[in-house]
Protein backbone atom coordinates (compact mmCIF):
# COMPACT_ATOMS: atom_id res chain seq x y z
CA UNK A 1 0.00 0.00 0.00
CA UNK A 2 2.81 2.37 0.91
CA UNK A 3 4.66 1.46 -2.24
CA UNK A 4 1.61 2.04 -4.37
CA UNK A 5 1.49 5.54 -2.90
CA UNK A 6 5.10 6.11 -3.91
CA UNK A 7 4.25 5.32 -7.52
CA UNK A 8 1.53 7.96 -7.38
CA UNK A 9 3.80 10.51 -5.72
CA UNK A 10 6.56 10.10 -8.28
CA UNK A 11 4.25 10.06 -11.30
CA UNK A 12 2.16 13.00 -10.10
CA UNK A 13 5.33 14.93 -9.34
CA UNK A 14 6.57 14.19 -12.85
CA UNK A 15 3.31 15.26 -14.48
CA UNK A 16 3.27 18.36 -12.30
CA UNK A 17 6.81 19.21 -13.31
CA UNK A 18 6.06 18.85 -17.03
CA UNK A 19 2.82 20.81 -16.86
CA UNK A 20 4.07 23.60 -14.64
CA UNK A 21 7.28 24.01 -16.63
CA UNK A 22 5.05 25.30 -19.42
CA UNK A 23 3.28 27.90 -17.31
CA UNK A 24 4.02 31.34 -18.70
CA UNK A 25 6.18 33.46 -16.34
CA UNK A 26 3.57 36.20 -16.61
CA UNK A 27 1.23 34.00 -14.60
CA UNK A 28 3.66 32.92 -11.88
CA UNK A 29 1.75 34.67 -9.12
CA UNK A 30 -1.60 33.16 -10.13
CA UNK A 31 0.22 29.81 -10.36
CA UNK A 32 1.31 30.09 -6.74
CA UNK A 33 -2.12 31.02 -5.52
CA UNK A 34 -3.74 28.31 -7.66
CA UNK A 35 -1.48 25.51 -6.45
CA UNK A 36 -2.04 26.81 -2.96
CA UNK A 37 -5.79 26.57 -3.37
CA UNK A 38 -5.39 23.07 -4.80
CA UNK A 39 -3.22 21.96 -1.91
CA UNK A 40 -6.08 23.09 0.32
CA UNK A 41 -7.20 19.56 -0.54
CA UNK A 42 -5.95 18.74 2.97
CA UNK A 43 -9.53 19.83 3.61
CA UNK A 44 -10.47 16.26 2.71
CA UNK A 45 -8.48 14.89 5.65
CA UNK A 46 -9.66 17.70 7.92
CA UNK A 47 -13.32 16.94 7.20
CA UNK A 48 -12.90 13.33 8.29
CA UNK A 49 -11.27 14.44 11.56
CA UNK A 50 -13.92 17.09 12.29
CA UNK A 51 -16.69 14.62 11.55
CA UNK A 52 -15.43 11.85 13.82
CA UNK A 53 -16.85 10.92 17.23
CA UNK A 54 -13.70 11.82 19.18
CA UNK A 55 -13.76 15.28 20.82
CA UNK A 56 -10.06 16.07 20.41
CA UNK A 57 -10.25 15.06 16.74
CA UNK A 58 -13.31 17.24 16.29
CA UNK A 59 -11.49 20.27 17.69
CA UNK A 60 -8.30 19.70 15.70
CA UNK A 61 -10.49 19.04 12.67
CA UNK A 62 -12.48 22.23 13.22
CA UNK A 63 -9.35 24.39 13.10
CA UNK A 64 -7.97 22.39 10.17
CA UNK A 65 -11.25 22.67 8.21
CA UNK A 66 -11.32 26.42 8.82
CA UNK A 67 -7.69 26.91 7.72
CA UNK A 68 -8.03 24.69 4.65
CA UNK A 69 -11.33 26.31 3.63
CA UNK A 70 -9.75 29.78 3.82
CA UNK A 71 -7.16 28.49 1.36
CA UNK A 72 -9.55 26.76 -0.99
CA UNK A 73 -12.24 29.46 -1.14
CA UNK A 74 -9.91 32.44 -0.82
CA UNK A 75 -7.26 30.91 -3.05
CA UNK A 76 -9.54 30.17 -5.99
CA UNK A 77 -11.34 33.51 -5.69
CA UNK A 78 -8.14 35.54 -5.61
CA UNK A 79 -6.67 33.54 -8.49
CA UNK A 80 -9.74 34.33 -10.57
CA UNK A 81 -9.57 37.98 -9.54
CA UNK A 82 -5.98 38.12 -10.73
CA UNK A 83 -6.61 36.24 -13.96
CA UNK A 84 -9.45 38.61 -14.82
CA UNK A 85 -6.91 41.43 -14.90
CA UNK A 86 -4.73 39.78 -17.52
CA UNK A 87 -6.25 41.19 -20.68
CA UNK A 88 -5.08 41.79 -24.16
CA UNK A 89 -5.60 45.29 -25.39
CA UNK A 90 -6.96 45.79 -28.87
CA UNK A 91 -4.69 48.16 -30.70
CA UNK A 92 -5.61 50.24 -33.73
CA UNK A 93 -2.46 49.66 -35.73
CA UNK A 94 -2.64 45.88 -35.64
Amino acid sequence: MLFESFYILILAGFVGFEVIKRVTPTLHTPLMSATNAISGISLVGSLVAAGSDHFVSQMLGLVAVTAATINVVGGFMITERMLKMFKRKKRKQQ
Binding site: I20, T29, L31, S52
Partner: protein, 458 residues
Amino acid sequence: MINYPLEITYIIASVLFIMGLKGLGHPESARRGMHYAEIGMLMAVIGTLLGQSIVTWQWILIGLVIGSAIGTAMAIFMPMTAMPQRIAISHAFGALAAVLVGINEFIVKGSEITSGLMGALGFEVLFGSLTVTGSLMAFGKLQGVLRSAPMTYKGQNFVNIFLFFVTVGMFVYLVFFPQNTLVFGLMIALSFLIGIFIVMPIGGADMPVVLSLMNSYAGLAAAATGFAIDNKVLIIAGSLDGSSGFILSIIMSKAMNRSFANVLFGAVGTAQVDTSTLHEDRPITKINVEDAKFILEQADRVVIVPGYGMAVAQAQHAVRELSDELEKRGTKVEYAIHPVAGRMPGHMNVLLAEANVSYDQLQEMEVINPTMDTVDVAIVIGANDVVNPAARTDKGSPIYGMPIIDVDKARTVIVMKRSMATGFAGIENPLFYQENTKMLFGDAKNVLQQLIAEFKKN
Protein backbone atom coordinates in the same frame (compact mmCIF):
# COMPACT_ATOMS: atom_id res chain seq x y z
CA MET B 1 -12.52 -2.55 1.27
CA ILE B 2 -12.36 -0.05 -1.54
CA ASN B 3 -15.05 2.59 -1.77
CA TYR B 4 -15.32 2.73 -5.57
CA PRO B 5 -17.56 5.78 -6.06
CA LEU B 6 -15.31 7.80 -3.74
CA GLU B 7 -12.09 6.67 -5.43
CA ILE B 8 -13.51 7.44 -8.87
CA THR B 9 -14.52 10.90 -7.67
CA TYR B 10 -10.96 11.43 -6.43
CA ILE B 11 -9.49 10.29 -9.75
CA ILE B 12 -11.66 12.73 -11.69
CA ALA B 13 -10.76 15.50 -9.24
CA SER B 14 -7.06 14.77 -9.76
CA VAL B 15 -7.40 14.96 -13.53
CA LEU B 16 -9.28 18.24 -13.21
CA PHE B 17 -6.49 19.68 -11.05
CA ILE B 18 -3.89 18.82 -13.67
CA MET B 19 -6.05 20.28 -16.44
CA GLY B 20 -6.46 23.39 -14.31
CA LEU B 21 -2.72 23.92 -14.04
CA LYS B 22 -2.28 23.18 -17.71
CA GLY B 23 -4.60 26.11 -18.43
CA LEU B 24 -2.11 28.47 -16.82
CA GLY B 25 0.15 27.96 -19.83
CA HIS B 26 -1.53 30.93 -21.45
CA PRO B 27 -3.58 33.86 -20.10
CA GLU B 28 -6.37 32.98 -22.58
CA SER B 29 -6.94 29.50 -21.17
CA ALA B 30 -6.11 30.27 -17.54
CA ARG B 31 -9.57 31.10 -16.27
CA ARG B 32 -11.17 28.08 -17.86
CA GLY B 33 -8.44 26.02 -16.24
CA MET B 34 -9.27 27.43 -12.84
CA HIS B 35 -12.89 26.45 -13.32
CA TYR B 36 -11.77 22.86 -13.92
CA ALA B 37 -9.74 22.92 -10.73
CA GLU B 38 -12.63 24.41 -8.75
CA ILE B 39 -15.01 21.71 -9.97
CA GLY B 40 -12.39 19.12 -9.01
CA MET B 41 -12.16 20.54 -5.51
CA LEU B 42 -15.93 20.65 -5.11
CA MET B 43 -16.19 17.01 -6.23
CA ALA B 44 -13.47 15.92 -3.82
CA VAL B 45 -15.16 17.67 -0.90
CA ILE B 46 -18.66 16.43 -1.64
CA GLY B 47 -17.33 12.95 -2.32
CA THR B 48 -15.58 12.96 1.05
CA LEU B 49 -18.65 14.18 2.91
CA LEU B 50 -20.85 11.49 1.35
CA GLY B 51 -18.37 8.67 1.06
CA GLN B 52 -16.33 8.82 4.26
CA SER B 53 -17.56 7.89 7.72
CA ILE B 54 -18.84 11.22 9.02
CA VAL B 55 -20.77 10.97 12.29
CA THR B 56 -20.96 14.57 13.48
CA TRP B 57 -21.70 17.48 11.20
CA GLN B 58 -21.75 20.60 13.37
CA TRP B 59 -17.96 21.14 13.51
CA ILE B 60 -17.63 20.58 9.78
CA LEU B 61 -20.31 23.16 9.06
CA ILE B 62 -18.85 25.70 11.50
CA GLY B 63 -15.38 25.27 9.98
CA LEU B 64 -16.66 25.54 6.41
CA VAL B 65 -18.71 28.65 7.18
CA ILE B 66 -15.94 30.48 9.09
CA GLY B 67 -13.32 29.47 6.53
CA SER B 68 -15.44 30.54 3.57
CA ALA B 69 -16.26 33.86 5.23
CA ILE B 70 -12.62 34.67 5.97
CA GLY B 71 -11.43 33.39 2.59
CA THR B 72 -14.05 35.38 0.69
CA ALA B 73 -13.38 38.54 2.67
CA MET B 74 -9.65 38.25 2.04
CA ALA B 75 -10.18 37.64 -1.65
CA ILE B 76 -12.56 40.54 -2.17
CA PHE B 77 -11.18 43.28 0.06
CA MET B 78 -7.48 42.68 -0.13
CA PRO B 79 -5.69 45.20 -2.37
CA MET B 80 -3.56 43.74 -5.16
CA THR B 81 -0.51 45.41 -3.65
CA ALA B 82 -0.84 43.12 -0.62
CA MET B 83 -0.54 40.03 -2.82
CA PRO B 84 2.92 38.91 -1.59
CA GLN B 85 1.66 38.88 2.01
CA ARG B 86 -1.50 37.09 0.98
CA ILE B 87 0.51 34.37 -0.76
CA ALA B 88 2.78 34.04 2.27
CA ILE B 89 -0.03 33.62 4.76
CA SER B 90 -1.99 31.20 2.61
CA HIS B 91 0.97 28.80 2.76
CA ALA B 92 0.71 29.00 6.55
CA PHE B 93 -2.99 28.06 6.50
CA GLY B 94 -2.49 25.10 4.18
CA ALA B 95 0.42 23.77 6.20
CA LEU B 96 -1.45 24.27 9.48
CA ALA B 97 -4.27 22.05 8.23
CA ALA B 98 -1.74 19.36 7.32
CA VAL B 99 -0.04 19.54 10.73
CA LEU B 100 -3.34 19.28 12.60
CA VAL B 101 -4.47 16.31 10.53
CA GLY B 102 -1.12 14.70 11.31
CA ILE B 103 -1.41 15.31 15.06
CA ASN B 104 -4.93 13.96 14.98
CA GLU B 105 -3.77 10.83 13.19
CA PHE B 106 -1.07 10.36 15.84
CA ILE B 107 -3.59 10.65 18.67
CA VAL B 108 -6.29 8.50 17.07
CA LYS B 109 -4.05 5.68 15.88
CA GLY B 110 -2.15 5.61 19.20
CA SER B 111 -0.54 2.24 19.71
CA GLU B 112 -1.37 1.07 16.17
CA ILE B 113 1.17 3.41 14.61
CA THR B 114 3.69 1.48 12.57
CA SER B 115 7.12 2.65 11.50
CA GLY B 116 5.83 3.19 7.95
CA LEU B 117 2.95 5.38 9.11
CA MET B 118 5.33 7.30 11.36
CA GLY B 119 7.56 7.98 8.38
CA ALA B 120 4.66 9.68 6.61
CA LEU B 121 3.39 11.45 9.73
CA GLY B 122 6.89 12.69 10.53
CA PHE B 123 7.36 14.26 7.11
CA GLU B 124 3.91 15.75 7.32
CA VAL B 125 4.34 17.50 10.66
CA LEU B 126 7.99 18.42 10.00
CA PHE B 127 7.39 20.16 6.68
CA GLY B 128 4.02 21.43 7.84
CA SER B 129 5.28 23.05 11.04
CA LEU B 130 8.27 24.77 9.54
CA THR B 131 6.08 26.04 6.71
CA VAL B 132 3.58 27.49 9.19
CA THR B 133 6.12 29.58 11.11
CA GLY B 134 8.34 30.26 8.08
CA SER B 135 5.38 31.62 6.13
CA LEU B 136 4.22 33.69 9.09
CA MET B 137 7.72 35.18 9.34
CA ALA B 138 7.64 35.97 5.61
CA PHE B 139 4.19 37.48 6.06
CA GLY B 140 5.45 39.62 8.95
CA LYS B 141 8.38 40.89 6.93
CA LEU B 142 6.28 41.66 3.85
CA GLN B 143 3.52 43.32 5.86
CA GLY B 144 6.10 45.42 7.70
CA VAL B 145 5.19 44.00 11.12
CA LEU B 146 8.72 42.63 11.31
CA ARG B 147 11.89 44.30 10.10
CA SER B 148 12.39 43.16 6.52
CA ALA B 149 16.18 43.47 6.74
CA PRO B 150 18.06 40.22 7.30
CA MET B 151 18.36 39.46 11.01
CA THR B 152 21.69 37.81 11.63
CA TYR B 153 23.82 36.96 14.62
CA LYS B 154 27.10 35.18 15.18
CA GLY B 155 26.91 31.42 14.86
CA GLN B 156 23.47 31.57 13.22
CA ASN B 157 24.22 28.93 10.61
CA PHE B 158 25.66 26.67 13.27
CA VAL B 159 22.51 26.98 15.40
CA ASN B 160 20.26 26.32 12.38
CA ILE B 161 22.19 23.28 11.24
CA PHE B 162 22.39 21.94 14.79
CA LEU B 163 18.61 22.34 15.24
CA PHE B 164 18.01 20.69 11.91
CA PHE B 165 20.06 17.62 12.82
CA VAL B 166 18.47 17.31 16.25
CA THR B 167 15.03 17.37 14.62
CA VAL B 168 15.98 14.83 11.97
CA GLY B 169 17.46 12.68 14.76
CA MET B 170 14.14 12.78 16.60
CA PHE B 171 12.35 11.82 13.41
CA VAL B 172 14.60 8.80 12.92
CA TYR B 173 14.10 7.82 16.57
CA LEU B 174 10.32 8.04 16.11
CA VAL B 175 10.38 5.75 13.10
CA PHE B 176 11.83 3.08 15.39
CA PHE B 177 9.76 3.99 18.46
CA PRO B 178 6.57 5.48 17.01
CA GLN B 179 4.65 5.58 20.30
CA ASN B 180 6.78 8.19 22.00
CA THR B 181 4.42 11.15 22.43
CA LEU B 182 7.01 13.36 24.11
CA VAL B 183 9.50 13.11 21.23
CA PHE B 184 6.69 13.62 18.71
CA GLY B 185 5.65 16.82 20.48
CA LEU B 186 9.24 18.04 20.80
CA MET B 187 9.85 17.39 17.12
CA ILE B 188 6.87 19.56 16.18
CA ALA B 189 8.02 22.32 18.54
CA LEU B 190 11.52 22.27 17.06
CA SER B 191 10.14 22.34 13.51
CA PHE B 192 8.19 25.46 14.40
CA LEU B 193 11.44 27.01 15.65
CA ILE B 194 13.34 26.02 12.51
CA GLY B 195 10.71 27.75 10.38
CA ILE B 196 11.30 30.97 12.29
CA PHE B 197 15.07 30.65 12.20
CA ILE B 198 15.45 29.92 8.49
CA VAL B 199 13.41 32.94 7.39
CA MET B 200 14.88 35.33 9.99
CA PRO B 201 18.15 36.02 8.09
CA ILE B 202 16.44 36.39 4.71
CA GLY B 203 15.94 39.91 3.41
CA GLY B 204 13.24 41.49 1.28
CA ALA B 205 14.72 40.91 -2.17
CA ASP B 206 15.15 37.19 -1.46
CA MET B 207 11.45 36.84 -0.64
CA PRO B 208 10.56 35.37 -4.07
CA VAL B 209 12.73 32.35 -3.24
CA VAL B 210 11.29 31.97 0.25
CA LEU B 211 7.72 32.12 -1.04
CA SER B 212 8.50 29.54 -3.74
CA LEU B 213 10.16 27.29 -1.20
CA MET B 214 7.21 27.54 1.19
CA ASN B 215 4.90 26.79 -1.73
CA SER B 216 6.87 23.61 -2.27
CA TYR B 217 6.98 22.62 1.43
CA ALA B 218 3.25 23.17 1.89
CA GLY B 219 2.71 20.82 -1.05
CA LEU B 220 5.05 18.19 0.35
CA ALA B 221 3.24 18.37 3.69
CA ALA B 222 -0.08 17.78 1.89
CA ALA B 223 1.40 14.86 -0.05
CA ALA B 224 2.74 13.32 3.18
CA THR B 225 -0.75 13.70 4.65
CA GLY B 226 -1.99 11.62 1.75
CA PHE B 227 0.48 8.88 2.69
CA ALA B 228 -0.52 9.03 6.35
CA ILE B 229 -4.27 8.77 5.82
CA ASP B 230 -3.96 6.73 2.61
CA ASN B 231 -5.67 9.26 0.37
CA LYS B 232 -4.48 9.38 -3.23
CA VAL B 233 -5.99 12.71 -4.24
CA LEU B 234 -4.02 14.36 -1.44
CA ILE B 235 -0.81 12.81 -2.72
CA ILE B 236 -1.49 14.04 -6.26
CA ALA B 237 -2.56 17.56 -5.31
CA GLY B 238 0.35 17.80 -2.90
CA SER B 239 2.85 16.70 -5.55
CA LEU B 240 1.49 19.30 -7.98
CA ASP B 241 1.92 22.02 -5.37
CA GLY B 242 5.34 20.66 -4.48
CA SER B 243 6.56 20.67 -8.07
CA SER B 244 5.24 24.17 -8.72
CA GLY B 245 7.15 25.46 -5.71
CA PHE B 246 10.21 23.50 -6.77
CA ILE B 247 10.19 24.87 -10.33
CA LEU B 248 9.64 28.42 -9.12
CA SER B 249 12.48 28.08 -6.61
CA ILE B 250 14.82 26.94 -9.37
CA ILE B 251 13.79 29.81 -11.65
CA MET B 252 14.19 32.36 -8.84
CA SER B 253 17.56 31.05 -7.71
CA LYS B 254 18.85 30.98 -11.28
CA ALA B 255 17.67 34.54 -11.83
CA MET B 256 19.73 35.56 -8.82
CA ASN B 257 22.65 33.37 -9.81
CA ARG B 258 22.57 31.73 -6.39
CA SER B 259 22.03 28.26 -5.06
CA PHE B 260 19.22 27.32 -2.67
CA ALA B 261 21.80 26.83 0.06
CA ASN B 262 23.19 30.29 -0.55
CA VAL B 263 19.78 31.91 -0.24
CA LEU B 264 18.96 30.01 2.93
CA PHE B 265 22.32 30.28 4.63
CA GLY B 266 23.84 33.30 2.92
CA ALA B 267 21.90 36.28 4.25
CA VAL B 268 23.38 38.37 1.43
CA GLY B 269 23.00 42.11 1.74
CA THR B 270 24.55 42.36 5.17
CA ALA B 271 27.94 43.73 6.01
CA GLN B 272 30.14 41.26 4.16
CA VAL B 273 30.02 43.19 0.88
CA ASP B 274 33.02 45.48 0.54
CA THR B 275 31.76 48.44 -1.41
CA SER B 276 34.76 50.72 -0.97
CA THR B 277 36.63 49.48 -4.03
CA LEU B 278 33.56 49.82 -6.21
CA HIS B 279 32.97 53.47 -5.43
CA GLU B 280 32.52 55.63 -8.50
CA ASP B 281 33.77 59.19 -8.88
CA ARG B 282 32.51 59.74 -12.40
CA PRO B 283 29.82 62.37 -12.87
CA ILE B 284 26.21 61.47 -13.47
CA THR B 285 23.84 63.23 -15.87
CA LYS B 286 20.76 64.63 -14.16
CA ILE B 287 17.72 65.59 -16.20
CA ASN B 288 14.29 67.01 -15.41
CA VAL B 289 10.86 66.00 -16.73
CA GLU B 290 11.00 68.41 -19.69
CA ASP B 291 14.26 66.82 -20.83
CA ALA B 292 12.78 63.38 -20.34
CA LYS B 293 9.76 64.30 -22.44
CA PHE B 294 12.05 65.60 -25.18
CA ILE B 295 14.04 62.35 -25.21
CA LEU B 296 10.93 60.17 -25.22
CA GLU B 297 9.30 62.14 -28.02
CA GLN B 298 12.13 61.16 -30.36
CA ALA B 299 11.87 57.45 -29.54
CA ASP B 300 10.32 54.79 -31.77
CA ARG B 301 10.79 51.93 -29.35
CA VAL B 302 10.66 52.26 -25.57
CA VAL B 303 11.22 49.51 -23.03
CA ILE B 304 10.10 50.01 -19.44
CA VAL B 305 11.91 48.04 -16.73
CA PRO B 306 9.94 48.03 -13.47
CA GLY B 307 11.32 46.99 -10.09
CA TYR B 308 10.22 46.82 -6.50
CA GLY B 309 10.44 50.62 -6.33
CA MET B 310 7.46 50.83 -8.69
CA ALA B 311 5.44 48.66 -6.32
CA VAL B 312 6.45 50.75 -3.30
CA ALA B 313 5.53 54.01 -5.05
CA GLN B 314 2.30 52.41 -6.36
CA ALA B 315 3.29 53.82 -9.71
CA GLN B 316 1.88 51.07 -11.96
CA HIS B 317 -1.13 53.14 -13.07
CA ALA B 318 1.04 56.15 -13.83
CA VAL B 319 3.38 53.88 -15.79
CA ARG B 320 0.51 52.67 -17.93
CA GLU B 321 -0.73 56.24 -18.51
CA LEU B 322 2.72 57.23 -19.70
CA SER B 323 2.85 54.32 -22.11
CA ASP B 324 -0.61 55.27 -23.39
CA GLU B 325 0.70 58.77 -24.14
CA LEU B 326 3.71 57.30 -25.94
CA GLU B 327 1.63 54.82 -27.91
CA LYS B 328 -0.68 57.62 -28.99
CA ARG B 329 2.37 59.11 -30.69
CA GLY B 330 3.11 55.82 -32.44
CA THR B 331 5.91 54.69 -30.15
CA LYS B 332 6.19 50.98 -29.49
CA VAL B 333 6.17 50.33 -25.75
CA GLU B 334 7.13 47.07 -24.06
CA TYR B 335 7.85 46.03 -20.50
CA ALA B 336 10.90 43.94 -19.62
CA ILE B 337 10.28 41.85 -16.52
CA HIS B 338 13.15 40.36 -14.57
CA PRO B 339 12.15 37.08 -12.87
CA VAL B 340 13.06 38.35 -9.39
CA ALA B 341 11.80 41.92 -9.74
CA GLY B 342 9.60 42.54 -6.72
CA ARG B 343 8.82 40.37 -3.76
CA MET B 344 7.25 37.27 -5.32
CA PRO B 345 7.37 35.40 -8.62
CA GLY B 346 5.33 37.35 -11.17
CA HIS B 347 4.90 40.38 -8.89
CA MET B 348 5.44 43.02 -11.61
CA ASN B 349 3.14 41.21 -14.03
CA VAL B 350 0.26 41.24 -11.56
CA LEU B 351 0.71 44.93 -10.75
CA LEU B 352 0.89 45.92 -14.42
CA ALA B 353 -2.06 43.74 -15.31
CA GLU B 354 -4.00 45.47 -12.55
CA ALA B 355 -3.16 48.78 -14.22
CA ASN B 356 -4.62 47.40 -17.50
CA VAL B 357 -1.36 46.82 -19.30
CA SER B 358 -1.93 44.31 -22.08
CA TYR B 359 -0.22 41.02 -21.23
CA ASP B 360 1.40 40.71 -24.66
CA GLN B 361 3.43 43.82 -23.83
CA LEU B 362 5.02 42.05 -20.84
CA GLN B 363 8.26 40.53 -22.09
CA GLU B 364 10.64 38.13 -20.44
CA MET B 365 14.26 39.05 -19.95
CA GLU B 366 15.48 36.43 -22.47
CA VAL B 367 13.17 37.79 -25.15
CA ILE B 368 14.02 41.45 -24.75
CA ASN B 369 17.79 41.24 -24.19
CA PRO B 370 18.87 40.22 -27.72
CA THR B 371 16.95 43.20 -29.13
CA MET B 372 18.16 45.72 -26.57
CA ASP B 373 20.51 47.53 -28.98
CA THR B 374 17.53 48.51 -31.15
CA VAL B 375 15.76 50.12 -28.19
CA ASP B 376 15.74 53.90 -28.32
CA VAL B 377 14.93 54.56 -24.69
CA ALA B 378 14.91 52.18 -21.74
CA ILE B 379 13.11 53.57 -18.68
CA VAL B 380 14.19 51.99 -15.40
CA ILE B 381 11.58 52.54 -12.71
CA GLY B 382 12.56 51.57 -9.19
CA ALA B 383 14.87 48.75 -10.28
CA ASN B 384 18.56 48.64 -9.51
CA ASP B 385 20.41 45.36 -9.08
CA VAL B 386 18.53 43.65 -11.94
CA VAL B 387 19.91 46.22 -14.42
CA ASN B 388 23.44 46.44 -13.00
CA PRO B 389 25.91 45.76 -15.84
CA ALA B 390 28.56 44.86 -13.25
CA ALA B 391 26.84 41.47 -13.17
CA ARG B 392 28.15 40.96 -16.71
CA THR B 393 31.49 42.68 -16.61
CA ASP B 394 32.93 42.90 -13.09
CA LYS B 395 34.23 39.56 -11.85
CA GLY B 396 34.78 41.00 -8.39
CA SER B 397 31.16 42.07 -7.99
CA PRO B 398 28.99 40.10 -5.57
CA ILE B 399 26.31 39.85 -8.24
CA TYR B 400 28.70 38.76 -11.01
CA GLY B 401 27.03 36.16 -13.23
CA MET B 402 23.48 37.11 -12.33
CA PRO B 403 21.36 37.47 -15.48
CA ILE B 404 20.30 41.09 -15.90
CA ILE B 405 18.20 43.13 -18.28
CA ASP B 406 20.79 44.76 -20.54
CA VAL B 407 19.35 48.28 -20.47
CA ASP B 408 22.88 49.69 -20.74
CA LYS B 409 22.85 48.58 -24.38
CA ALA B 410 19.86 50.76 -25.23
CA ARG B 411 20.60 54.04 -26.99
CA THR B 412 19.41 56.10 -24.03
CA VAL B 413 18.57 55.00 -20.50
CA ILE B 414 16.35 57.04 -18.21
CA VAL B 415 16.65 55.94 -14.60
CA MET B 416 13.87 57.03 -12.27
CA LYS B 417 15.12 56.78 -8.76
CA ARG B 418 14.58 58.41 -5.41
CA SER B 419 18.28 58.98 -4.70
CA MET B 420 21.69 57.54 -5.48
CA ALA B 421 21.24 54.91 -2.76
CA THR B 422 22.33 51.39 -3.64
CA GLY B 423 19.93 48.51 -4.22
CA PHE B 424 19.35 45.48 -2.04
CA ALA B 425 22.78 44.00 -2.74
CA GLY B 426 24.37 47.21 -1.47
CA ILE B 427 26.64 47.72 -4.48
CA GLU B 428 27.32 50.60 -6.82
CA ASN B 429 25.65 50.51 -10.20
CA PRO B 430 27.99 51.57 -13.05
CA LEU B 431 24.90 52.02 -15.24
CA PHE B 432 24.17 55.34 -13.54
CA TYR B 433 27.53 56.77 -14.66
CA GLN B 434 27.27 55.79 -18.30
CA GLU B 435 27.22 58.57 -20.86
CA ASN B 436 23.88 57.48 -22.28
CA THR B 437 22.23 57.27 -18.84
CA LYS B 438 20.06 60.13 -17.64
CA MET B 439 19.05 60.24 -14.00
CA LEU B 440 15.56 61.51 -13.20
CA PHE B 441 15.35 61.83 -9.42
CA GLY B 442 12.18 61.80 -7.36
CA ASP B 443 9.30 59.61 -6.25
CA ALA B 444 8.42 57.37 -9.22
CA LYS B 445 4.70 58.10 -9.17
CA ASN B 446 5.21 61.82 -8.74
CA VAL B 447 7.78 62.07 -11.53
CA LEU B 448 5.65 59.98 -13.88
CA GLN B 449 2.60 62.15 -13.26
CA GLN B 450 4.62 65.30 -14.02
CA LEU B 451 5.90 63.65 -17.16
CA ILE B 452 2.38 62.70 -18.27
CA ALA B 453 1.22 66.28 -17.60
CA GLU B 454 4.12 67.47 -19.73
CA PHE B 455 2.95 65.23 -22.60
CA LYS B 456 -0.65 66.38 -22.22
CA LYS B 457 0.35 70.05 -22.52
CA ASN B 458 0.37 69.85 -26.28
